[in-house]
Symmetry: D2
Subunit: 334 residues, 4 copies
């Protein structure tokens, strides 16, 4: 069993705490949050100890690994604390909103090559998405030609969320940039993006953010990937990927809580709603992400997705923002 | 938290142990199995104590409730031990293969009306099936006219299983008899059944059992329910119910591990396999069954399905066996 | 081009006239109906000639074949007229409601073995159903174990219809009895049936008919087939067959006019309605039935389904009625 | 009945001839093709007369309307002949590959405002697509936010086809540009496009064409539409549109010839193939397009889509080609 220090006890941290306590392969030993009461509550629920500081949590003798689920501006600092302490670390995305800070953190990570670092792009582990990537890897759909990623949130987050999130493309699309790299099977070289204010134009204009986007990525080999995003799909959390190869296509479609279909005179074949949001839809992928991290730690293999993947996704977001401004397809920084 | 004594550590017992240890509302305190090593292993995995006898497990001071998952011939005895000890009990189906033994057990249960007894017809709690029953109860499909239950196992169990199971209609169809009562919304009055030997005719003839069946139930009001069963559906565990009312229809369809569809030149739109067997398909219904039991215990309500439901399903199986022999529609004992 | 005499210009006759005029392989030459105005209207629309009598229509020199779509009591007479005139005949089901009349007609048919006679069990030709039978014939699902036929009309026909129809099992279920023979791949030996009055109990009791039925058929080899029927499925015309073999299963599901799915906050994924009734759902199967008849005529092969198939389906209905009365599984007449 | 002159008897012309002969509302009176034998064959099959020239066909006294299905370079000339003869004309897309020629033709059309001119964007009439547009128009999905059009041909056409087609965006994507205008409900103002050579790179490079494309359209109001195209989807002709509004979403999905699903050990739930190509998938939309034209002619209404729609789609293709070259989002000519 790998015992974890959990840094951050907000919505995502609470979810991770539950998983760490539940899985046979993991345990929750130490908990830290800037809000002491939040940390104490999580510690109590799962029989863990609250720590006075991130370093105290990380360095505790009964801690084998670190899970960072705190606010984004702390991610890079906490990765560095963990790496310097020689503790494997699984950090929620994004590493940081600033490429310079990420590159500085990378130097610390690179200086400790023996310490595993995994970035929390959990959607790679979604059973349907993973089966799509596996079909591609196994040659079942031949050579990839193009891919389509549909990624829509079920409703506008609160205003405070936007102010910390770093912008639609760095906060939400970044998951899709990571998935796009898996879909394409080779590195995107160029990106074109448009971002819009369609769901709540007044708020978006006021805080200079966007609630809608469409993106096209192209690799050096000419493979194409389209991403569409919106913050507010009233019908639910819509998460689909589609890989079209020269020998076939796979679609990883949405999940539902159950498979009841209703047939009446007026509404033929209405079905159960889509799973509400990421904690429903991607719960299994969060579990599988942690299990993959644990396996890498035990087998002393570099985990995947690693630090470099976190940087790549951020560079895609940066290039996409350049495209939004220029109206041109933009090169992605190497 | 309700702390359980678990009696029986076979395949089903091991599954229940995992659920009891995992849920926040439940704990696993004591474990008993006739095979001491099996009990010890389960106890160790979940930090529980192995007990020397069923009574010792049930009567332990740190035990609030009992879950019976042992071999069928022990069910009635263990229910009686629990009831006499004043401990609420959730017992796997069937109560017993012999109606006389069930009626005798019922006298003990009836003599302790304050002790909750729930029978493990977990499929009622399947989210899709439960949504179908809820639609019926809410009048969304009007008055029920007829129902169809498809219930097919993915492969023949080992020979030893048959020898203890008590026959197809008492072992497998009994789940569907219970579901049929929920589907119909009123008590079946008559049953017609045919049972066959189609999957492994030689084995079935040798041990005088059946591997296939078709059943029709009719209520006093003329409502109809069809059940079809087979032990060996090579394509997977096929579990569907369909309720047809005078204002609409609902179908609770199978689940899959994920929703990947594959389109190739030869096999258009193949999909992920069905969930393999009951521990995959009905895991959530087992959890919800336990949570419903816990809620009834806490709120001091009679749980549902109760002891009487266990008896009704067995009486349906008995009448069905009479029909198999007579070739006639048979009355169900009141 | 095969030129037809059409006998009968009611709802079905009008549909057949349209197909005969439209297909390149067929033409409509002569038209007869007891209602002269009806015949004249059909003749005018398609450039055919109205005939003064069935015999005149059949015997006209420009008529190659006969399509009988008149009222049931005339079917046997018209088959005999056609056969005696040496003209191939495609006759709507049922041949007659009386087995004795059918057997008498069979003698005439048998006395003219060179004249092709096809009975209008058009559902065999439905592309989905036919693909299911083809998969069975090709061994793709192995040996058949059991089959389920769901056959529900979208609403109660007018009272006058019932009075001529001959009873639910002879009028509606007879299609399913024919399909069941295709599904099972061997002759049913026994039948159990229950028939009920659930949609309009008062009317059904008054005219001594039924609006609902459930049937189980068993072959000598033990293969099973379930049929469920209702006259009034408010959600539409529900026509499905399911074949379960020892190596796989096929389901031929309903069709819709198009494949639009709608996702809103309240009704997730409602879809287009089912095709309304048999003239929508089975239009293609009527065309394919006529094309199969034309091919048999041209190639001088006995058409299928033939006269004997019409008799078998009727004998199944007769045995089913005996079962409804006796409450027993009944042998089917050889 | 509206009697047509059909100009052009190639693959599409032959299909149109069949429809015109079959529908009760239409008839085929005159046929012209540059290949006299082709015209003679079509004329003979449907009882029409072959004409010696386009003008002779159009001007014949028994011709009420003209259907142009000839090679693209003749479209504008034939529209002018029909318009000048005062005969309503339904012309296959595109009007011409050259915007100048289209504008010149428009002058002739505008000079005869009483003569109906419809352009053959038949996909608007597809029952599923039309139901999607109707849902949008009825407010069922609220205000449109973004749309996704998937349009993939089942295989590479022969080389000769490419040489006449005018390039992927003018030949294939032009249908999707027209659909995009329907999806968006307002005029696109800007377009970004990438075009690639992924299916047959050598051939595409040699003839300077493309076999793959991804496009993003944006209206002045910020609404977005994505189109993806490929010439060679091995799994079949893939035609889907998806409209995402602020109150719901609709998806018009592919059709299949029937709805058989097959479940086996290895390939769970494979389904019937997609309809093979446009003559299968869009046959009904071609019929409905002709019926809409006939209705407009009879009711003396301007038909839709009209000449101006044909020009708009071409201007979208032109702007898209500018974007392919510039790598920038390009303004669409007013």
């Amino acid at each position: 069993m790998i015992r974890f220090a959990l840094l951050g006890c907000g919505r995502i941290g609470v979810m991770h705490a539950g998983i760490l306590a539940r899985l046979a392969e993991t345990g929750l030993a130490r908990v830290y949050d800037i809000d002491e009461a939040a940390a104490a509550a999580v510690a109590k629920r799962h029989g863990a100890a609250a720590a006075a500081s991130p370093a105290a949590a990380v360095e505790a003798a009964d801690v084998d690994a670190v899970l960072v689920a705190s606010a984004t501006p702390t991610h890079a600092d906490f990765i560095e604390i963990a790496v310097r302490a020689g503790k494997p670390v699984l950090c929620e995305k994004p590493i940081d909103l600033d490429v310079g800070r990420v590159r500085a953190c990378q130097e610390v990570v690179d200086a400790h090559p023996e310490v595993p670092v995994q970035i929390g792009f959990n959607r790679r582990f979604d059973p349907g998405h993973a089966a799509a990537f596996a079909a591609l890897a196994a040659g079942e759909i031949g050579e990839l030609l193009h891919a389509v990623i549909t990624s829509r949130d079920p409703g506008m987050p609160p205003r405070a969320y936007y102010e910390a999130a770093g912008g639609l493309l760095r906060d939400m699309t970044i998951h899709d940039f990571d998935l796009a790299r898996c879909c394409l099977g080779e590195e995107p070289a160029e990106v074109f993006a448009v971002a819009g204010r369609l769901c709540d134009p007044a708020l978006m204009a006021e805080i200079d953010d966007h609630d809608s986007a469409m993106v096209i990525l192209r690799t050096a080999g000419g493979k194409l990937c389209h991403i569409n995003n919106t913050r507010a799909a009233v019908y639910g959390y819509d998460q689909r990927i589609e890989l079209h190869g020269d020998r076939g296509m796979v679609i990883s479609d949405n999940n539902r809580g159950h498979n009841l279909a209703k047939y009446t005179k007026d509404a033929t074949a209405s079905r159960a709603p889509l799973q509400h949001f990421f904690i429903d839809r991607y719960l299994r992928s969060y579990e599988l992400e942690i299990l993959a991290f644990v396996a890498a730690v035990k087998e002393k293999r570099p985990p995947s997705p690693g630090f470099a993947d976190g940087l790549r996704a951020l560079l895609l977001a940066e290039a996409a923002y350049r495209s939004v401004k220029s109206g041109k397809i933009e090169q992605i920084e190497a």
